[in-house]
């Protein structure tokens, strides 16, 4: 249902945009402008090609980075997600692994919106030895009513030979959900 509404909003917005275009385009005439359009489209094809090439470089580079900087034997990645429908305004998340600060992230409105829509943020990637580790999570935010809140939780996770994925599911304390939950992957 949420999807359908978002989809409709998008359709409406882009229709308005498209619609406003037609008036503008109505005033566009002339052979010179047609040539310009053709040239623009020709350039567009070339831009599409270079984008494709750069994406392919990015893929190879990601692979190299992972192999070089975060080999699977030691890799740990921490993800942050919001509980579905949660209206808390998440301001910041701070992470410590084995007592060492590894991430301190302050959220923009755009990022918060992306989390609310169901996106998942990879907040930290690093390396730890195999075995048990302590993860301390601190979140700061504002509740729907405007009051500020702050929570800290500690978890233990076990790093094995394969890459370790840790998901932190966050929720406002007024939602009835546990504010910080460690999801197992």
């Amino acid at each position: 249902m949420k999807n359908a509404r978002a989809r409709h909003n998008l359709i409406t917005t882009t229709r308005v945009f498209g619609f406003s275009l037609l008036l503008c385009l109505g005033s566009v005439h002339g052979r010179a402008q047609q040539n310009d359009q053709q040239q623009m489209r020709g350039l567009d094809e070339q831009v599409q090609e270079i984008k494709s090439d750069v994406l392919s470089i990015a893929a190879e580079l990601s692979q190299l980075e992972e192999k070089l900087l975060y080999p699977s034997g030691t890799q740990v990645a921490v993800f942050v997600a919001l509980a579905e429908g949660d209206q808390m305004r998440l301001d910041a998340v701070r992470l410590q692994i084995d007592g060492k600060l590894v991430a301190h992230y302050i959220y923009s409105a755009k990022e918060l919106e992306a989390l609310r829509k169901g996106g998942v943020q990879r907040i930290y990637v690093g390396n730890v030895a195999t075995g048990d580790h302590q993860l301390e999570v601190l979140i700061d935010g504002k509740l729907k009513g405007g009051s500020e809140f702050s929570r800290t939780e500690s978890f233990t996770f076990r790093k094995e030979v394969k890459p370790k994925l840790v998901e932190l599911k966050l929720a406002g304390p007024d939602s009835g959900n546990t504010p910080i939950t460690l999801e197992k992957w």
């Binding site: 999807n3 989809r7 998008l10 882009t14 619609f19 350039l43 831009v47 090439d53 893929a59 169901g118």
Partner: protein
Amino acid sequence: MRTLRRFIGLGLAFGLAALPAAGADLRDLYFGEALYHAYQGQYFDAIRRLDTELAQYHRLDEPLLDTLHYHVNDAEFSVGDFELNYRMHHRAGRAIKAVLESAVDEAVRNEAAFRLARIHFQKGQLDDALHALSRIQGMVPEEIKDDIEFLRANIYMATDQPSEAVEVLNQLQSHESPDGFVAYNLGIALLQAGRQQEAVEQLDKAGQRTADDPAGFAIRDKSNLVLGSLLFESGNFERSKQSLDRVRLEGPFSNQALLRAGSAEASADQYDRALVSWNILVEREATDVAVQEAMLAVPHAYASLKLHGRAAIQYGRALELFSNQIEKVDASIASIREGRFLEALIREESRQDETWVIRLRSLPDAPETYYLMELMASHDFQTALHNYLDLEDLQSRLIAWNASFDAFEDIIKLRKQNYEPLLPLVDAQFRELDSRMRLRLEQRKHLGERLQAILITPRPDYLATADERIAGERIALIEKQLEDSDSPESPALQHRAARLRGILTWRLETEYPQRLTAAFEHFNELNTQVDTLTRQYDAFVRTRQAATHSYIGYDIQIGRLRERVSEALQRVDLLMARQGHMIETVAINQLKARRERLVAQQTEARYGVADSYDRAARAQSGMEGP
């Protein structure tokens, strides 16, 4: 008019761009991460993430065990959507074709066909778009049913098949579409089909629909504007005026509507009423085409009312305005040539704020944007501008990557310096430990085999203690010595030795079950130790391999990537220059066209001033006849 209608369909179809799947029931974190980027408009990162995930997924021997399996259809679609949003139509088309041709269920295949049709339509490949729609058969997801038919109608309109479009839109209209786009398009399709009267009625209906959002108001205004223009052209000025009056005074079409409304009144010789609309218009933004037309229309109306003095003043005002505007346009052209237009366009806010084009106008240091609002809102210009911004983004990424290669090489060098002196010593120690470990493991294996053997054939002697074994050997030696002895005491001693052997055998036989259990317990305890040892051994081997892999084997890959990045950077630089030049050229051409019109209007105003003064003077001296 036909061209205009083509754009109507096209413009509306852009609205069909779909939203990526939401992660309500997310089972794959990396898919969620791709969505996180996409929701922020970071399509490069979203595609990068999802491409990597999909490539990994398709390489797996058992993809059903991977968490992406739960979202794979969504992911395939989403990557196409992201590519479309990143203005990569070719790849988006390929991605969606791949879904279409894979073994997916009917609903998914039909959605893919719809998306493919939409891409073809956006690129103007209308036959391909229709062909893609013709592949839709059977089960169609409910949420896209109307979108499919709306797209079909747009394609019919764009391919000069208005009757077919009318049929489709009529059916869609009966579904009580929530917005006025169907009603409006139906009016245009009827017009295109030559059914003028029905078109008028339909546009009239579309122009009186209730609206509750900006898009609804805009399409209602547009319907009234088109209807008003249509009625005006057919000479029905009164009804034309009624329709134009329904256009909101503050909407995007109000200037055009006011101009037309005034013209409708003027055509019916109602100049005083025409002045009501036009006088509102002349107080508006002076760069607007309709406002500039009204600047001449107002004095013309006064002249028609024989108010020549007032006409002369208004022509004078128009003359001043046109002269000022020509200066502004000249300044804008000069400014663009100095590169300031491009600078203004690539400011940070153009990436952050969707309405930046509107606000750009008010920036005091961007005079070049005064006349370019319409151009800047056009699809081709927006594509060109976004491409320019995308190229700039690619450029900064490539530069950063180039710098990171040096950092990678430093890391590799430092790791090499650290590990190379250590590893020979570590390897030597490991080899020694390895041989000792292998020996012990061999012993353990042998022990295990013997224990298994005595489970089948009991051998109590195998479980004798060391003391018992020594005692047994001593008894055997005594027995042998006594056998060879002729001493008279030998029989008695042999008897005693036999008793000792008997005691030993008795103990071994009677304690055999307990000893066997204890032996297995000890053996299993050994297993635990051996497992720990094996884990440590494996961990060492992994760490040892990781040490090597941390600095060996990267040279070729880094070298190749360096080359690719450098080559891509050169191409991006070149394309940026060409794209920037293109944007500037198009803007200058647009301004030149506006300048030409302004010069013509300036001439007209100059003539009007002279003519009005002349007429006013003649009227004053009573020379002008009734």
